[in-house]
């Protein structure tokens, strides 16, 4: 077992890392709860876009006509991205920007029927309850620095989980797993609950906390990819201006499908967007299993000639980010998984609040004395019980 001094150090780590991050972690757990059901809630809140019923085998319109429909509505704007709805195969979205150097938060989304190339709606992703929750959760409306700050809070959370697991040892040395002493002081009951709930959900909390930290690095990761692999792939085109006339997007898609067999398109980044060069359609292909559908593979297609320039697997740091997303969101195992995610989230809230309560109701005694005291009490109650004395 650990020496008294080591326990003291680990306990101090647990106390201070927890104290600093608890308020933010509480906010993250509370705002994260509705975000688990983002998709379902956005439908409930009436954001669902209705498509007309047509026979199942209705052919899809060409993507060129989809793009044309969007630009017809907003002739002065530029297409930045085109992507498909995850659950509704008849919906395609376009992201339009007023100028090619527009900041990343200035854009509009329009939903287009994939069969008729008719503009259906302009979904607003930047208002309402879920948007508020999402912004709080991601960066507290404080941009990249808010995001990195929350990443640091996440790191403290992970440190508090690890140190918490270490000090669980000396606290539980003489106790059975899972004990909840409800018949003594309130503090003892909440200590037992804090220990039980914390240790049982440890792995889940570590994974969700750790992947959350990785997600806060997404801006950095994307920048690294832009200046690394993407720049390398588009190197022969360096300094080339935007094409005057764009080649057919449908032809570019055929070329991409041929270059990356066995995968299907996930989204297209247009020339001038962050995920492409000034002269390429970047078609991001993905697989079909829950894991491979997150692992993208870009194909850079010359937007003037529709010829393949290059296609490579993403580097490890982007792959790490992409894999950490589902593990943080809990959106890869259907509704039952989301429910479990929500329950574990609520349990984490209880662990946070009980931890805070234990600290507020603390007695001013060093940790080793408190453990010894708890153990003496335990020995006493034990001997009373073995002698048949009933409290």
């Amino acid at each position: 077992m650990l020496s008294a001094k080591t326990v003291k150090i680990w306990y101090a780590v647990h106390k201070w890392t927890s104290l600093v991050c608890t308020a933010f972690l509480l906010m993250l757990c509370v705002t994260g709860l509705p975000l688990i059901f983002y998709h379902e809630l956005s439908h409930l809140l009436g954001d669902e876009i209705k498509t007309v019923d047509m026979p199942l085998e209705t052919p899809k319109a060409s993507l060129d006509s989809v793009v044309e429909a969007g630009l017809k509505k907003y002739p002065a704007e530029f297409v930045r991205f085109l992507y498909w709805d995850e659950d509704e195969p008849d919906l395609v979205y376009l992201t339009l920007v007023p100028s090619l150097d527009a900041p990343p938060d200035v854009f509009r989304s329009i939903a287009v029927d994939a069969r008729t190339a008719e503009v259906l709606a302009e979904p607003k992703f930047d208002e309402g309850f879920l948007y508020f929750m999402l912004e709080l959760h991601v960066d507290m409306f404080a941009g990249p620095y808010g995001m990195l700050f929350l990443g640091f809070m996440g790191l403290l959370f992970v440190a508090s989980l690890v140190s918490g697991a270490v000090v669980y040892g000396p606290f539980m040395r003489k106790l059975d797993f899972g004990i909840v002493r409800k018949d003594r002081t309130a503090r003892l009951k909440w200590l037992d609950l804090h220990n039980l709930l914390g240790i049982v959900t440890l792995m889940w909390a570590l994974v969700v906390g750790g992947t959350g930290v990785i997600n806060t690095l997404s801006d950095v990761v994307i920048k690294a990819w832009q200046y690394g692999q993407l720049a390398e792939m588009a190197a022969p085109y360096k300094g080339k201006p935007m094409p005057q006339k764009f080649a057919s997007l449908d032809r570019a898609m055929d070329v991409a499908r041929e270059a990356v067999p066995g995968m299907s398109p996930d989204f297209v980044a247009f020339p001038g967007s962050v995920f492409s060069s000034s002269h390429h359609y970047a078609v991001f292909m993905s697989g079909t299993t829950p894991l491979t559908s997150r692992l993208l593979k870009p194909a850079l297609i010359d937007a003037e000639t529709a010829k393949l320039t290059d296609s490579r697997d993403l580097p490890w740091y982007v792959t790490t980010l992409l894999v950490s997303q589902p593990l943080h969101f809990g959106d890869y195992g259907g509704m039952p998984m989301k429910v479990v995610w929500a329950v574990l989230d609520v349990i984490t809230i209880i662990v946070l609040v009980s931890g805070l309560y234990l600290w507020l109701s603390r007695r001013k005694k060093p940790i080793e004395e408190r453990i010894a005291e708890l153990e003496r009490e335990e020995d006493l109650s034990r001997s009373l019980q073995t002698e048949g004395v009933v409290r």
């Binding site: 040395r173 797993f177 440890l202 792995m203 479990v340 574990l344 409290r391």
Partner: protein, 80 residues
């Protein structure tokens, strides 16, 4: 020497045995749903629900034996 070492080990297992099993099960549940749909999802739901079930059992149903003494010395029969 040998004796105290084995006590130490059994002590460690006594404290961290169940938590370690639950951690492995959780990790298994987190990974399986990534690998495929259908049966993989079901395995994941079960594995991830077990920790929750363990909590429910101990918090609301007291769990087996409230502490070591009642369990080992008086046969787990506790009157209170």
């Amino acid at each position: 020497m040998k004796r105290s070492k084995s006590i130490r080990r059994s002590n460690f297992l006594h404290v961290f045995g169940v938590p370690a099993l639950l951690a492995i099960l959780s990790a298994f549940g987190l990974v399986t749903a990534l690998l495929g749909d259908g049966v993989w999802d079901v395995l994941s739901w079960i594995a991830l629900a077990v920790p929750v079930a363990v909590i429910v059992r101990h918090v609301w149903f007291g769990g087996p034996g409230k502490d070591i003494s009642t369990d080992r010395r008086s046969g787990g029969d506790k009157t209170s």
